[in-house]
């Protein structure tokens, strides 16, 4: 390394002699930082999405590399949010890829003290059996002499964090099964 290169690699020298007197731009860079690239540069795809937290509905760009979400940023095209995200929206990468997400079905048997593992298909089959049984045991053909044809045996809660299409199927299936106790966060 020549003396000139060595001196030029010194940020204070560049700050005093260059056009960055405040030392907030070029003067502060190093060989390392000069070689940094945006973490989204190598993404294979950018997928258009919407923030899942509040109801403002900020636009999100989801960056995908090797089949994994690598970054989530605000979508500058959105007339709602113009590229901004709040602390929650900006942390949605941790929401989607964080280690706190449960990956397997967990099962607690009656009177059990710990979780157990259960195969997803088995769980679905068991849940279907329980719905059919609770539906039957809570069935009311009449209530106070009036025809109701419904079940009070099971209930459902939640929907405000889900998609419209998901809410549609919840209401459609449970109504057809005769359930009326279907509620979500709008009530609270």
């Amino acid at each position: 390394m020549g003396i000139r290169t060595w001196i030029n690699s010194w940020p204070v020298y560049r700050q005093l002699t260059g056009d960055d007197p405040l030392g907030r731009g070029a003067a502060a860079s190093s060989g390392h930082t000069a070689n940094l690239t945006p973490r989204v540069e190598t993404a294979d795809r950018v997928v258009k999405s919407i923030c899942p937290y509040c109801a403002v509905g900020c636009g999100q760009n989801v960056y995908v590399e090797d089949g994994k979400v690598t970054q989530i940023e605000g979508d500058p095209d959105s007339p709602v949010s113009r590229g901004r995200l709040c602390p929650k929206g900006a942390a949605s990468l941790q929401l989607t890829t964080g280690s706190a997400r449960v990956q397997q079905v967990l099962y607690r048997r009656p009177h059990g003290t710990e979780w157990e593992r259960l195969d997803l298909d088995t769980a679905m089959d068991m849940i279907a059996d329980r719905v059919i049984e609770s539906r039957r045991s809570g069935w009311e053909e009449e209530h106070d002499g009036k025809r109701v044809r419904r079940t009070m045996g099971f209930a459902s809660l939640g929907g405000a964090t889900l998609d419209n299409e998901e809410n549609y199927l919840i209401k459609k299936l449970f109504t057809a099964l005769g359930a009326v106790q279907i509620e979500n966060q709008a009530r609270i």
């Binding site: 937290y53 941790q94 279907a128 979500n184």
Partner: protein, 869 residues
């Protein structure tokens, strides 16, 4: 708004940069206050007095928008002679049945209207709290007194019945709405605001001047609110008061105006439009009640308005039944209307918990909701779950509602033992928003499509997958059944295309079903194409058009900067992609904008149609001077100036003749629990608020002047923080957010800290008749003492996000709360509570229950406390 909807708040700041004044009314000082021109701290639970006094100011100072008022509101309409106001009856309206805690609303009607047809819904004759009641012989009882029926007006007002109301265009008849309004609010003065809200007179008058000075032809004022207004036993009437104010000032249907609900979940609007709610079908069609008769025509006759777009309810309902039951729904079988289960009374979430405690409801699905933290009285929620046969929890992480049987507060207190709990629990991991296609409806009624970025890993699946496959398996298990009750589920249209290794259903196919199609399967483009003869199918009439031309309109993403300020080509808003509802009111009766500055839509005489920046919310070719035929019905009955097209009379309602359960006008009532008496009326609380049946874990406190109320001398309110989300299920597990807000805390003023010996960063225990919780103490000037009824009031601020799981932990504020509900929509009162606060941590184990009992004894609480009308 800066705290909980920060990115939306950028538009408030844009307005401020252009000269708008920002007023922030909130018990505490927040990031919104820091950026506002005026911050008004007030006592939690006193907003009707505050808003009502602004209404009084507008009326007495004649600041209302007279031309708008005459053309577009019911101000000139004459009321019945037998109507009695709260001013006449010391705080109640005519028609109160004190024994059953209900109103007979018939005297609230307009003069000259014939009451509801005898076939109408008569839920008022139905028991609300479990006791059986004699059916009334009065056939005219209003259908709209049904449980939580108020919510079915999410896309328009209640039916009026038949007849033509009498009007006084001079607004001088003592029985016209305008004059009734004046008398009703006459005692809501600046002095009263000082006494009730603790807001100094000068501050109040400054607010009045800012609002009225910024309303009229050239200017509009917007009001934004969130659950600080709705979580009350008078929640609906809070919003009503704002509606009266905005209607008087001509701020509805115009750009920069409105009453804007800032909703807290990504698709809470969507889950109301396509409801996972007990009392609604998609598009705000009411669920049928048991006593409404079993046939479709009777139901439609009783529920559909005679005028306006609700007049076409049969088209919407038959199309929905066709979407649900397809070929099985025929003219001959009433389009399977009989397949819909019937309601009797309320089946809201708190009633469901009661049914769990009673052993009636034995199975429970939780799908992205955490009631152990998010619902009032978490203990009651968990005791309900501990009495189930089975519980299915679908979420991203192990929320408190999934693990209470192992580590919940009742295990710690010894009230429950894990080994004794028989509930079988399934936890099914859910896919996140990046792992599935689908649409959210934001707080502006705009649908925005999300595209799937990656496949969910492990056992995680979308809720679309879960519901579809659960339905498929149940249908397989029931196939071949000859039991009549299985017909609705076996006849259901349930054949969505699936793709990928996990057989994920096609979300766009579901959207297409929601949008609707004609008999050839072609997508519809507008709800005006829907038919009541079975030739169209549509899963949600107000969403018809979102898949027009077979194109997913919700996925449109033309950049905002390449569009006009309305940005109509980003997403799709219901109905018909209109961005501002009732925008006919942005033009004067002749169809000209009230001012150039506030032009939105207008009548184009040359082309003979409405046009403008937004999609006109009016029949496109209806002339401003159109007078409908006497016998016209439905949309045809709208005159050229009936701007409020979903209302039965086409007018904005300053006074609500039908559709509300607790009065045609808002009145200030004290919260269920409060240290103060109501200075306005002898009636302390909302007389028809809903209280559950008495339960040991849901005792109420004495209030006001009752002995024992001094045990709970402070007012607590709950709220959210920027860094966390609702009950924490989507935020307490993120390291970034946990670092920003690591644990539960309470906010208290330096004066309260001194009074009770609380130390900044130390611990405090907050106590109510239900529970005691501990919180880190934040001593801050953001909480300011108020002078209310001549004495100093200290308020305690409680963010409510926490539970025992995740990285950021703490006690749940909602443990303190009782279940006492607004009668119209059954929302709980979690924004105003009387409490005590003391230094130090709360006791552990059974000693926690001892402390609560000690408070109950000291304040003399019995089963009957707080239950008087």
């Amino acid at each position: 708004m800066a705290e909980c909807h920060p990115v939306g708040f950028q538009w408030v700041m844009e307005a401020k940069a252009r000269g708008a004044k920002v007023i922030h009314v909130d018990p505490r000082f927040t990031r919104t206050s820091a950026l506002a021109d005026v911050h008004v701290p007030l006592r939690a639970g006193s907003d009707i007095a505050f808003l009502g006094a602004i209404v009084n100011h507008v009326l007495s100072e004649e600041k209302y928008f007279r031309d708008y008022l005459l053309a577009y509101t019911n101000a000139p309409v004459i009321l019945r002679e037998d109507f009695r106001d709260t001013e006449d009856l010391d705080g109640v309206f005519s028609g109160l049945d004190a024994e059953h805690r209900t109103y007979d609303a018939s005297s609230w009607q307009y003069e000259g209207m014939r009451a509801q047809a005898a076939s109408g819904h008569r839920e008022q004759n139905y028991p609300r709290t479990g006791e059986k009641r004699e059916a009334s012989s009065d056939e005219s009882v209003d259908e709209l007194s049904e449980e939580a029926r108020g919510e079915s007006h999410g896309s328009g007002g209640a039916d009026l019945g038949e007849g033509k109301p009498r009007r006084d265009e001079t607004l001088s008849d003592p029985r016209c709405v305008f004059q009734v309004l004046k008398r009703h609010f006459a005692r809501y003065t600046p002095e009263l605001v000082e006494e009730v809200c603790g807001v100094p007179r000068d501050t109040f008058l400054q607010v009045c001047e800012l609002i009225t000075g910024n309303s009229g032809r050239d200017r509009t004022t917007a009001i934004a609110y969130a659950v600080g207004w709705t979580h009350h036993t008078v929640g609906v009437q809070y919003i009503r008061t704002a509606a009266i104010l905005q209607t008087l000032l001509g701020n509805i249907g115009r750009p920069g105006g409105g009453i804007l609900a800032l909703r807290g979940h990504a698709s809470i609007q969507g889950s109301t439009d396509i409801p996972t709610l007990f009392n609604l079908l998609p598009g705000y069609i009411p669920m049928p009640h048991a006593h409404t008769g079993t046939d479709l025509d009777t139901f439609v006759d009783a529920g559909a308005g005679k005028r306006g777009y609700w007049g076409n309810m049969r088209d919407y309902l038959v199309s929905l039944l066709k979407a649900y039951w397809g070929p099985a729904a025929t003219e001959e079988n009433d389009f399977c209307f009989d397949y819909l289960p019937r309601l009797t009374g309320s089946h809201d979430t708190y009633t469901t918990v009661q049914n769990q405690l009673d052993g009636v409801c034995t199975g429970y699905f939780l799908m992205g909701e955490n009631p152990s933290v998010g619902s009032a009285n978490g203990r009651m929620q968990r005791l309900g779950m501990a009495n189930l046969d089975w519980l299915v929890v679908r979420d991203l992480s192990l929320i408190e509602s999934a693990t209470w049987w192992k580590d919940g507060p009742e295990i710690e207190s010894g009230e429950l033992r894990t080994e004794d709990i028989r509930t079988e629990v399934f936890f099914l991991p859910a896919a996140t928003h990046t792992e599935k296609d689908g649409s959210f409806t934001n707080t502006q009624r705009m649908l925005q499509w999300r595209h799937k970025a990656v496949e969910p890993s492990g056992d995680a699946r979308s809720d679309l997958w879960f519901m579809y496959h659960l339905g498929r398996i149940i249908r397989e298990k029931l196939a071949g059944s000859t039991d009549d009750r299985d017909r609705p589920v076996l006849d259901l249209t349930w054949d969505y295309p699936v793709h990928g290794d996990s057989a994920e259903p096609d979300a766009e196919a579901v959207l297409a079903e929601i949008n609707g199609s004609d008999s050839e399967g072609r997508p519809l483009s507008s709800y005006t194409q829907l038919k009541g003869d079975g030739s169209t199918a549509c899963g949600c009439w107000i969403y018809c058009g979102v898949y027009a031309d077979g194109v997913n309109q919700a996925a449109r993403r033309k950049p905002g900067e390449r569009q006009n300020w309305v940005a109509p080509e980003w997403g799709w808003a219901w109905p018909a992609n209109r961005r501002i509802l009732y925008n006919r009111a942005s033009a004067d009766p002749e169809g000209r904008p009230w001012s150039e500055r506030k032009a939105l839509v207008w009548w184009d005489e040359e082309k003979g149609r409405w046009t403008g920046h937004d999609v006109p919310d009016f029949p496109e070719e209806r002339r401003p001077d159109h007078v409908p035929a006497e016998d016209a019905e439905g949309p045809d009955a709208l005159s050229g100036t009936d701007a409020f097209i979903m209302q039965a009379d086409g007018k904005a309602w300053l006074y609500v003749p039908t559709g509300l359960l607790d009065g045609p006008l808002p009145a200030h009532y004290e919260p269920q629990e409060t240290p103060f008496t109501n200075p306005l009326y002898r009636q302390q609380r909302n007389p028809v608020r809903v209280l559950g049946k008495p339960h040991p874990v849901n005792r109420y406190q004495p209030a006001g002047a009752e002995p024992g109320s001094e045990v709970f001398p402070y007012v607590a309110t709950t709220y959210r923080l920027t860094e966390h989300h609702t009950a924490g299920g989507m935020s307490r597990w993120q390291p970034y957010l946990a670092e920003l807000q690591p644990e539960f805390f309470c906010e208290v003023s330096p004066e309260l800290a001194a009074e009770r010996g609380l130390e900044h960063m130390g611990w405090a225990t907050v106590v109510s008749a239900r529970s005691a919780i501990e919180a880190r103490v934040m001593v801050t000037d953001r909480m300011s003492p108020l002078t209310v009824q001549g004495r100093t009031l200290q308020q305690v601020g409680l963010p409510y996000h926490w539970g025992s799981n995740g990285y950021s932990r703490g006690d749940s504020a909602n443990e303190l709360f009782h279940v006492a509900l607004d009668p119209n929509v059954h929302i709980q009162e979690t924004k105003a509570l009387a409490c005590d606060i003391r230094p130090g941590r709360r006791p552990r184990g059974p000693k926690l229950l001892d402390l609560v009992r000690e408070y109950q004894v000291r304040s003399g609480i019995t089963e009957e406390t707080g239950r008087d009308i």
